[in-house]
Every structure is written in structure tokens, then in C-alpha cells.
Symmetry: C3
Subunit: 392 residues, 3 copies
């Protein structure tokens, strides 16, 4: 039996009735829902690889709202929407009247009369990105209940202050591929480590997303960062609870080397300390430019104390057989390539370059799978069509 047949078999017995209309945090989804997302993504990927189409809609809009810069997530969302048959319309908040006193509720409805999916990136402000997404979700619920909207658009979190589910699910798909199955992740050690970068203010959503998701699949998750670079306490608590339930483990260390030791997977990536992001949010709100500049200087200067937190060949040798899988959400700060001194040495990155591209390549299919499962109450009904596409 091929792997793809396993995915198809899983889907044929899967009950999608609780999947809901939003994908905002992986920890709001059941394990079966996550497995179904991975399975559909694999099926879509294979159909695409064979030159087939997994289009589901004749027409319809997919609205994207990017409140922070993005290249790869923007293209992943556009690719996913297009492959499903939807046309992307960016909500450009400069062109629109959003800033002119419209409420979120009204705008959410106005954008959605013929819209099947909405993707939002809002990761700059602690306590706000995910909150904004929930306001949109609630407005869409009301609009659908009141009959303003003929259908409830699927809402996808394209990165917020808490989680980055399209990234962590793509990473999980990569791990599943790398180790052969989700079952094989049990007992594998992953080091989610802070790494030095000459920049500042990188969101916390990637490390939070990784520890919140991988602890559910029995992995031994080690979070490593210098003292003072902690994540949202709710998420580290959650990771602890997940690990207990899944038979995995979760620990925090302040040594990159310790986290790398015997690791099967390493994910070295820079982020700003939680308390800095909170302070920054307040300064941005109050428009305190000199305060922001001072905070940036302090933070960059503090970062420089930890320039040895680089993923280099010496540290990779500490990993399991010296051959841990290196992961990154891209773009990485590569020493001597994209910056003088950064998150990863050029030789380590080059060795794993193809793997990181492959990791990124799951994202369009993961997003498509999320939208598909949110808009298809009975995915089995389309399964015949999918198989037909797959077999052609």
C-alpha cells in the first residue's frame, strides 16, 4: 500500500463535521483534524505533481489582508486560492477606507458577499493579531446567521502574535515526510532554538507554533534561548500539557548546544523577547518614536551578547549522528550571505538548502487543504473526483 493510499483511506473514514470555519490556532483543532489537513495536502500535492487539478470552485474570491510584509506566505495563499478556483483580492488598507472609521464588523461583511476564503497576517502587536482575527470571525458568523452572507467564508490565520499555523503545519508535513509517518515522530528530539540575528522585532509565532504543535505528536521538544528571550507563558504552559498527554516531553534550556545534543531535528531561528514585543506594542500605540528607537538599540545591543548562538557545523556535530534535519521558515539570516553574522553558517544552510525549499513547498498545499476542509462539509463526496484527478 503506498503512502497516498493510506491518506485516501484515512480521509474516507474521517468525520469533518467539527472542523469549523476558522483555522486560527493548531491547538483548537483535534489531532484527527490535523491529520486530515496533512492527508488532503498530500493528496493535492500529488495531484499537482502529476499535472492534475484539484480545483473545487467555479468562481469566488479569496481575500487576503496582510498587515505585515510577506513574500512566501502571500504566494502560498495566492497559489492555494488559485488552485482551488478562487481569485485573490488583496485588501490594501492604504487604498481602502478602512482607516476612515469603519468598524471591523462592517468591513468583514462588505468584503465577503461572494468570498469563499479570507487569509489574515497580523503579527506585529502582542495581544492584537489573533484578537483581530476573532473579531473578523465573529462578524462573519453574524453576517451568515443574519443572511447578509450566503456562505460563511473560511478564515485562515496567515501568522498572528500567537501562532503561525500554516507554517507549523507545513513543518509537520515535512517531518512526516522525513521520518516516514507521524507515528515515527514519537521519541524524536526537536530543538526549537533561538539564534542570533542582526535584526530586531521578529515575531514569536514560529517558535510558539512549533512547540505548541510538535509536543502533540510525542516528540521530545527542547526550547532553547538566552535568558530573557522567553515566549508567551500561555504557550509554554500549553506545550508542557501537550507533552504530558502525548507521551513526549518539553523542556526549556538556555544553551543552544544542550538543545542540539542528540537532536533529530534543529530549528534555529531568531525572535524578539516577549517582554520587548509587549513594550514595543505600547510604544507603537502611543506613537513614541524616540522610545522605539531606544528600544531597538537596546534590543540589538542585547542580541549582540549572543552572537555565538549560530547554527554552525560544530553544533550540528552534537546532533544525532551529526545528521539532524535543519529546518527554517525562510528567509534565514545566513552568515556571510545575507548578513555578516546570523542564524546559520553558510555551509550548514547550503547542505540543507534543498530541504528548506521542500519544507516551504508544503505551504500552498497546506493552505489549500485548510480551506478545502473548511468549505467541504463532506470531503468524501469530492474524494471520487480527487481520485479521478489523481489517477488520470
Amino acid at each position: 500500500m503506498t503512502d497516498l493510499q493510506k491518506e485516501l483511506e484515512f480521509i474516507s473514514q474521517y468525520d469533518n463535521s467539527d472542523y469549523g470555519d476558522n483555522f486560527l490556532l493548531t491547538w483548537e483543532k483535534s489531532t484527527d483534524e490535523l491529520k486530515a489537513t496533512l492527508a488532503i495536502a498530500e493528496i493535492f500535492k500529488e495531484i499537482h505533481r502529476k499535472g492534475g487539478s484539484f480545483r473545487q470552485f467555479d468562481t469566488g474570491l479569496a481575500v487576503s489582508i496582510f498587515r505585515d510584509k510577506s513574500t512566501r506566505t502571500r504566494y502560498s495563499f495566492a497559489s492555494a486560492a488559485n488552485a482551488l478556483g478562487l481569485s485573490v483580492v488583496d485588501l490594501d488598507e492604504e487604498k481602502s477606507q478602512i482607516a476612515h472609521g469603519e468598524t471591523v464588523r462592517e468591513t468583514a461583511n462588505m468584503l465577503s458577499f461572494l468570498t469563499k476564503a479570507i487569509g489574515i497576517r497580523d503579527d506585529m502587536y502582542i495581544g492584537q493579531g489573533n484578537t483581530y482575527m476573532r473579531e473578523v470571525a465573529s462578524a462573519l458568523d453574524t453576517g451568515f446567521e443574519e443572511g447578509t452572507l450566503h456562505q460563511r467564508p473560511a478564515l485562515v490565520n496567515l501568522q498572528c502574535d500567537i501562532d503561525h499555523p500554516t507554517q507549523s503545519m507545513s513543518d509537520l508535513a515535512m517531518l512526516k515526510y522525513h521520518f516516514g509517518s507521524l507515528e515515527n515522530l514519537k521519541g524524536k528530539k526537536i530543538a526549537m532554538s533561538w539564534a542570533y540575528s542582526p535584526s530586531y522585532g521578529k515575531p514569536l509565532s514560529v517558535p510558539q507554533g512549533i512547540i505548541g504543535l510538535m509536543t502533540r505528536f510525542g516528540m521530545d521538544v527542547t526550547l532553547a534561548h538566552p535568558e530573557g528571550y522567553s515566549l508567551l507563558p500561555e504557550v509554554t504552559d500549553l506545550a508542557q500539557k501537550n507533552a504530558s498527554s502525548s507521551g513526549g516531553s518539553f523542556q526549556i534550556t538556555h544553551s543552544m548546544e544542550e538543545s542540539f545534543t542528540d537532536a533529530h531535528v534543529v530549528y534555529p531561528k531568531s525572535w524578539a523577547p516577549f517582554h520587548v514585543m509587549e513594550e514595543r506594542t505600547q510604544l507603537l500605540k502611543s506613537g513614541d518614536k524616540s522610545g522605539l528607537t531606544q528600544l531597538e538599540q537596546e534590543c540589538l545591543s542585547n542580541n549582540r551578547k549572543f552572537m555565538n548562538w549560530e547554527c554552525d557545523e560544530a553544533k550540528m556535530k552534537l546532533t544525532n549522528n551529526g545528521e539532524a534535519l535543519y529546518m527554517h521558515c525562510l528567509p534565514a539570516d545566513i552568515s556571510g550571505v545575507s548578513c555578516e553574522q546570523g542564524e546559520v553558517s553558510a555551509s550548514v544552510f547550503e547542505k540543507y538548502r534543498k530541504a528548506t525549499y521542500q519544507e516551504a513547498g508544503y505551504k500552498p498545499f497546506i493552505i489549500a487543504a485548510m480551506i478545502y476542509l473548511m468549505t467541504s462539509p463532506n470531503p468524501q463526496l469530492s474524494l471520487g473526483k480527487l481520485l479521478h484527478q489523481f489517477n488520470k
Copy 2:
């Protein structure tokens, strides 16, 4: 017989040969053409509500040219184009070479080789928006006659200095729904009233569009505004003539209360006086920044004399049974919500919020119907297909 069957019957006997290639002013269309637009919009809306598709084109572009900010009209145009099978390409005049000496005639042709529809918003300058649209229309006519263009794209006015036909037709669709039929509009009183807003320079096209259209269906239209806030004289003249022909009435008052008394519908909305808009056009042309600032100050200060022109519960009690339908093109300036003191009190707006969303929800279908009737010389030929979609 259901209402939708009535629409289908109307269309089956409707002669579309005079509909033309432009929808620039409602008063350039016959009553039957307006009825057909409403009927097709209703049919499209019902197909969409049932999850069907009213796609008409396999491929083709829809070009949008927004010379003023827009959210809901932008999305309505994008939704309409997408639902018909067209892909929207915005003409971003900053990205393009428009400002570099190209004539309107040339650009209109260059954008249109594979284009099925063009939508233009140009509402900032008195005497210019509609004029620009006619220049584009004429260029497209010539391009088609000369064989440069294989087809004549449909041209839709998405708001100009004179009319806002996609808005007023959506409003008419809402009134038809609210009162059960166009026939039932006869003798119903609508108050198109100025309202206070802490902003300045709002276009005249909505009130002009409403009085120019609703007077054709036998309504008793009362235009209310403070002295000095008059509309384009040509349009008030037209409204008077329309009322005489249709058996309705048209009058102007300087009391919001008087207009609301016994009204079945109220449409309270701010606008800038015609003479201010003219002065502003001249100042903008000559790039007189200090003149513009002074005009804005004068105008805002003058507005403040009329802060009691707010649609509140007391005024709503004056209306027919105290239950007039409140309408607005959105976004409304809601007192205590989107501004300190504005066009409508929070309690009145909240009572009618769902109705205003519903009103807005007609726009994508109205625009789709306009494009469809401009590009389908024999809509009956597609009727079978529409019915098939509808019945599926």
C-alpha cells in the same frame, strides 16, 4: 408564482437591443432596461444563494480604474467580474505611464485588447468624472469600429461627479425587496436628506443618484438640506421632470424634520455643497494648497452650524408609523461610534444595521447584471443556462 419566476418571465419578453455598451447615468436607460437590470441581479443573487454559478465567460479581463478611494465598490466590482468569469486588473496610475503624456484614447485601447468590462470611479472633480468616462467610452467605440478591439468592453460608472448608478440601483433593488415590488413604490415617501458629518468634500453623486432614480418610480421624493447645500441644478431639474412623468412628486425643503414626516424611507447622508465642490475643483487644478486648507476650514465650520441634522430616534418617530426604512451607502458617520457626532445616532444605526448590509449586498449582483446585459445582446439565449443553474 414566486417573485423569481416573475423576473424570469420579464426577461423572457425583454428586448435588450438598446441597452448599449455603457452604464453611465441611470437616466440614460429606459425603465425597461432598469427593470431588466434588477431582474437579472435578482436571478444572479438567487443562483448564488443556492450555491450555483452564473459564470458567463471562460476568460477575459475586467479593468478597474479607481481615481478615489474605495473598499466596498472595489470589492463589489471584483466580485461581479469574478462571478462572470473575468479577472480584475487594477489600473494603478502610479505604477503605469498614464501620467507620462499618454492620451486617454490611447490608454483606453491599450488596456482593452482582451478586456470585457471596465469600471471607473472618478468623483473628485465637478465637471470631470463623467466627462472622463465619456472620453473613454468614445475611445472604445472608435477602437472597436476601427478593428483595433475585437469586442467593445462594457463600461460601468462606479461613481462620478454626477451619478452613482451602481449604488442607486442597489438601493432600488433594496426598496423593491422591502416593499415587495416596484409597483408598490408608488406614493411611498422617501426623504433624501443631508446630514451632519465632521468631514468635508463628500461627493454629490449619491443624493443626485437617488433623486434622479427614485422619482421615476412614482415615489414622493423630498430632498432636504440646509440652505447653501444644493445639488447640481441639472439633476434637481431632472428629478422634477421625472416626478411629473411618473405620477410621483419632488420637493426641496430646508428642514430634516419636514422631510422625515410621514416618510416611508429616509436616506440621511452628508455631502459638500455644489458650489464648494466647484471651488475645490478649481483650487485642486491650480494646486492652491493654502486655498484648499482655507476652504476646508470654512466648510467644516459651516457644517458645524447644522450638527442637529442627525438621524436620531426623535426624528425617526416623525416617519410613517415611526418605522421608516433607514438607508445608507456606507460607511455612515455614526455618533459615538465612528465619530463624536455624525449622520446617525448609534441606536438608529444599530436597529437598521442588518438592513444596510443587505442594501450593500445587492451591489455585486447589480454590477454583474449591468455587465451581463451590456455583453449579452440576447439574454434569453443564456436564460436556459441560468434556469438550469438555478434549478440545480
Copy 3:
């Protein structure tokens, strides 16, 4: 036998196996490949004229990267992509993270997971535009070989520092139409002449594209420009070699009148001297603003010495029977219309206005044909479908 039947017959016997995945320079394509491109463009154009569709893809993205302003090429690319069934996503380098240290290789792959075609305009810097395109091409090759990409997207040069193949091929299509066949171009004289413009820094790619392409079809190509306004030496050398092989001729003169004498076609267009463009590239690289201003002043002042290089009625009288075909890539600097004194007099331009629109009208079909031939290894397989569309 109609002309279109000839095109279909040519295609039915054409071997497309060497067409490749990039269209970067016309001189990298065999004459048969160019003929096939023209033939497919003509077939697509005729299908469109009859209201048919030449859609080839169910879904897929077309990525456009414009590093210089564009209206008509932007719309031509969007039209071509849409007609083939692809959705355009612009890579807006301001919105994206491109400037933040990402390598070209990584970005090229990240944009391409579900992408069928990429179009790039990069014409501002001598020695860089075409080089950048080749870096993208190489990254796409590697991505496809490594399995990161399921398919290799077709790459189209939408104007670089060396060539403007979508323009020159559209011009060739126009010449083929005007003279009845490619064979009829033999012995026809075309004057590719510099012309005065009150602007500065216009790319060299159009004149280079014209002399590099038209010399291959036996035309007598005369390049005319004031002393000091020479093109890239490699391209003039190439034109010389092409002319020898094809039985045509190539010469350079410093007299607009001489080039026009007995010409069957004239193409008067401004450009900046090669050495100025090189100096400008250096100044732009080093961010030397005052140097750039000084260079612009010098160049504009030098241009003014050649204000008599205008295509006017007197010079047109020198051409073959006074009736040479006037060509331009548009927008032209028209004296008294788009500038005080420019490349062409108003009366000459108006006489040929329709012809220049027709010339521009080939571009969407040329681009569609290029993408089609790059993505369809066996165009004959689709020929039945094309014919079916054509005959409907």
C-alpha cells in the same frame, strides 16, 4: 488557402522540442521557433476575434516582476496569462521581503511552486537586467531538477537592458501582416532611427531588439542616430552577422533623412546613448544623486542639439512613395500633443495612429504564444482543440 490555414499547416509540421523554457533574446531562438511563435499568435488572435477561447490551463499562477513602470506590457502580460487560464500575481518588491537579504535563487523558487509562467521587466541598468533574468532562469532549472518545483515555469523577458522580445516580435507580426508574409520582407528597407525627445534615460532595448530581429528576415536595416548615441556594440555586431546570413543588409548612418530615403518602414524613437546608460548605472549603484542630476542635465542639453530629429511630413516624403509604414512601441512623444517638441509630428502620428494601435494589439497574443510554446512540448496535440475552437 487562407493565411490561417498556412499557419496551422506550419504548426502541424513544426518540431517544438528545442524551444526551451525561457524567451530572453530573439537571437537565441531558431527561425522556425520564431515562425512558430508568430503562427500560434495569429491562431490565438483569430480564435479571440471570433469570440472563442484558447485557454490551456485549468489553474496556475503567472508571476510578473516589474522593476520599471509599464502600462501596455503589464496589460499584455495580464491578458496573455488570463487567456491561457492563469492568474497574475505581481511581485511587488516594496510589499515583499525581497529587499531584506533574500537571494534571487530562493525567491525564484518560493514564487514558483504552482506557477506556470514568470514575466520580468528589468531595463534600467546596463549589464544587469538580462543577467538577473538568467539568474532566475538558473534557479528555476535547479529547483525543477531537485524536485522542489513540480514544473519549470516559462520565463518571458518583458524588456531588459539588451532586448525587448515581446515588442520586436509584435512588430514582426505587424510587418508580416502589412507586407503579407515574412518572405515579402526580403529587400524591404526599415529605418530604425533615433528621434528627439525632451526626456532622458529611455532604454536601448527597442532599437536593439529591432535591428537584432529584422536583419534575420532579409530586410535592409538602417540604424540612424546622432554621433554619440550608439547602441550596445555586441548587438550592432550581431545585426551585421544576421544581415550577411539572411541576404539582407545592415548599415549605420548619422542622418535621419538618409535612413528614411526609400524606406518601406520607419521606426523613429528616442533612446539614451549606451555610454550614458552605463554611467547612469554606476551613479545609481553608488547612490550619487548630484552626479545623476548633472548627467541628466548634460544629456538633455545634448539631446536638444538634435531637435530636428523629428519624424515629420517632410521626412516621410523621402520614404518609398512617401508611404512608409510608421511604427512605434508607444507611447510616442508627439509634438504639440504629449510634449512641445518630440519624436513625431502630430499629423504623421495621427495618420498612422490606427496602425500603431494594431501593432500594439499583437503583444498579448505574442506573449500567450511564447508561454504556450514553452509549456506545450507537443503543440500538435492541442491543435485539434485549437481548430475546434477556431471553427466554432
